[in-house]
Amino acid sequence: MSLVYLVPLFPLIGFLINGLFRNSLSKTLTGLIGSGVILASFIVSVVLFLNVRSGGALPVEPLFQFINIPAFKIDFAFQVDQLSALFLLIITGVGFLIHVYSTSYMHEEEPAHFARYFSYLNLFVFSMLLLVLGANYVIMFIGWEGVGLCSYLLIGYWFKNDSYNYAAKKAFVMNRIGDLGFLLGIFWLIAKLGTANYNDVFANVSQLSPTDITGITVLLFIGAMGKSAQIPLYTWLPDAMAGPTPVSALIHAATMVTAGIYMVARSNVLYSASAVAENLVAIIGIATALFSATIAIKQNDIKKVLAYSTVSQLGYMFLGLGVGAYTGAVFHVMTHAFFKALLFLGAGSVIHAIHNQQDIRYMGGLKKYLPVTHITFLAGCIAISGIPPFSGFFSKDEILAAAYAKNPVYWVLGVIGAGMTAFYMFRLYATTFLGTFRGTEEQKHHLHESSVAITTPLLILAILSVIGGFVNVPEILGGEQGLHQFLAPVLKTENAEAVHELGGNKEFTLMAISVGVAVLAILIALSRYAKKPELDEPAGFGKVLAKKWYIDEIYDALVVNPLAYLGNFFKNVVEKSGIDGFVNGVGTFVQYSSRRLRLIQNGKVGTYILFMVFSILVLWCIFFYQEKIVIFFNNIF
C-alpha cells in the first residue's frame, strides 16, 4: 500500500480513539493523541511533497472499487500531484498548529468534552484530506460532505447554547444548498462522460458541448459558493463564530472554506473552457470581496471582523480563479491560511486573556499585557493588508495583476477592496491593542500572556506569514515564481503570459498603487482609532453596515419565513385535516359501521332466518341474471 493512504488514516485513528474512549482518556493523553496523529500526517505529507517535487505526480492507484455498476465505475483512489501535495501541507501543517493551540485553549473543558472536541477536530482534518486527495469528484464529495458535517458538530460544540445550535444548523443548511449544486454537477458529468476521475474528465473535455461545460462548471461553482462562503450563500460563515476560536481558525484557514477554491482550481481545465463560468466566478468573487469588506468595517466582535475578512479574502481567491490566475488563487489560499490562522489564534489568545470578552469596544491597550500576541497579530494584519515583503502582498498582487490583464475594472474594484481590508484590519488592531484598556478592573487584574502552547503556534504562523510569500516572488522583483513552476503541470498558466505582456513598468505601477492605497488606509485607520476608538452605536449608513446590510433579515423575509409559513401550513392544515383526517376518518368509519352492524346479531332466530331468506333470494337473482350482470360490469370496466 502506498504511503498516501497513511495521511488520512492517522486522523481517522485519532478520531476513533478520542471518540470511543473519551470517558477514560485523560486530557493530556487526548491532546497528545489528537495533535500527534496530525503531526504524523504532516510528516508523511512532507515526504509525499518532496517526492512529488523531485519526481512529479504519483500514479493513481485505486484502493478498492467504490461503485461498480455496468454504466460506470468509481474507484476509491487517491491522487497526489503538485496541487494536492501543496494542500496536504497546508491542511496538516496549519491543522497541527491549531491542534497544539487547542490543547491549551480548551483546557477548561471537561475531559469527556475535551476528547469529543479533539475527535471532531481529527475527523474534520480527515474529511478535508479525503476531499483534497480523492482522485475523482465522488471521493471529493465524500470529503466535501464530511467537512460540512464536522463544521456543524464543531460550531455547535457548546450545544447547551441555543443560538450556537442555530448557527450550526444555519451552516449546515447553507452548505446543503450548495452541495445540491455540486452533486448535480457530478451527475451531469457522469451522465455525459461516464466517469468522474479527474484525469479522464480533463482528457475528454473536448467531448463535452459548450452548454455541458457551462452547466457543469456553474453547478460545481454553486457547491463552491456554499462551502467557500460566497454571495449568496456566505451568511453561515460569520455565524460560524459560535464555535470555539481554534475551530474558527481551522474552518477559515486550513480546511472547509478552501475546499471551494481547491475544487475550482482542480477543475481549472473545465473552467477555462467556459467563458461564462469564468466570468461568473470572477464577478461573484469580486462582489463578495467588496461586499463583505464593507460589513467588516463596522463590526465590533473581534471574531466577526475576521470572519468577514475571510469571506472577503475568499472573494479575492475566486476573482483570481475567475480571471485565470489559478496559481495566484492557490498561492493566496496558502498565505491566507498562514495569516488567517494566525489572526484567529491571536484573537483566541486575546479572548482567553480577558475571559471570553469578544467585543473590541471593551478591549484596548492590550499591547502592554500581551506582547507576543500583539507582535504576531500585527504581523498578521500587515500580511493581510498586502504590505511588502509580507506574504499577503505577493499573493494578492498576483491576483490583482491577473485581474488587470483580464479587465481593468476588476483591478480597480480589487484595489478598493484591498484598501478596505487594510482599513478594517487596522481598525481592529488599533481598537484592540492600542489606547487604554476599557474593560472592568477585574479583567484588567487577570490580564496575562497566554501559555506556551498558545504562543508557539502564533510565533510559527507569524514567521510563515512574514516569509511565506517568498516561495513565489514575481519576476519583476527578481524572483523565480517558484510556485508557478511547481504547479505548472496541473494548473493552466495562460494568464501568466497576459500579465507578462503588461510589461514590467506597468506591473510595477499597479503594484505601487495597490500598496499605496493599503498604506494610506492603514494610516487613516491608525490615526482615527488609535487614540479614540469608535465606542458609540453606529448611526445612519454605518448602522446598515453594522447590521450587515440586513442580509440575514432579507433572507429571513424572502426565504426562511415563506418556507416556515409553508411548512406550518402543511403541518397544521394539510397534515392535520388532510392526511390525519383521512386516516382517522377510515378508522371512525370502520368503528361506526361495525357498531351498527353488531346490532344485527341480536340473537333472535327470526331475524337470522329473515336474512337467510333474503340472502338466498339475492343469490338466486344474481344467479338468474348472471349474464346481464357480467355484461354490465364489462361495460363499466
Binding site: N602, G603, K604, G606, L610, V613
Partner: protein, 113 residues
C-alpha cells in the same frame, strides 16, 4: 296435468312455510311450517320425476325401465328421515316447554348468556 301446476302449488306451499317460520313464534307451528317446506320440496321431486317418466317413455323404446322412478323412491327416504327428525324435534320442544313453560322461540334468544 302440466308441470306448471305442480310447481305453483309447491312454490306456494314453500312460501307459506317460509312465511310461517318467519312470522310465527310458537315452536310447534314453526316446526309444522318446516315440515310444510320439506313436503313441498317432496312434491316437486315427485312431480318432476313423473314428468321425466312420461318424457322418457314417449317414442323411445330403448329407454331404461327405471327412468323417472329414482326420485319417487328418494321421496320415501326423505319421509322416513323427516319422521325421525320430527320425533327429535318434538322431543326438543317438549323439553323446552318443561323448562320455560312456553313454546315461544323468543324465550330462547338467551344463548349468549
Amino acid at each position: 296435468m302440466p308441470i306448471q301446476y305442480y310447481i305453483i302449488l309447491a312454490a306456494t306451499l314453500f312460501c307459506i312455510g317460509v312465511a310461517g317460520v318467519l312470522i310465527r313464534r310458537n315452536a310447534i307451528i314453526i316446526f309444522m311450517c318446516i315440515e310444510l317446506m320439506l313436503n313441498s320440496v317432496n312434491l316437486m321431486l315427485v312431480a318432476f320425476s313423473k314428468m321425466h317418466y312420461s318424457l322418457g317413455n314417449t317414442g323411445n323404446k330403448n329407454a331404461p325401465l327405471n327412468i323417472g322412478t329414482d326420485a319417487q323412491l328418494f321421496v320415501f327416504f326423505i319421509m322416513v328421515v323427516a319422521a325421525a327428525e320430527v320425533s327429535v324435534g318434538l322431543a326438543i320442544i317438549v323439553m323446552m316447554y318443561r323448562n320455560v313453560h312456553s313454546t315461544d322461540v323468543n324465550f330462547l334468544n338467551r344463548l349468549k348468556n
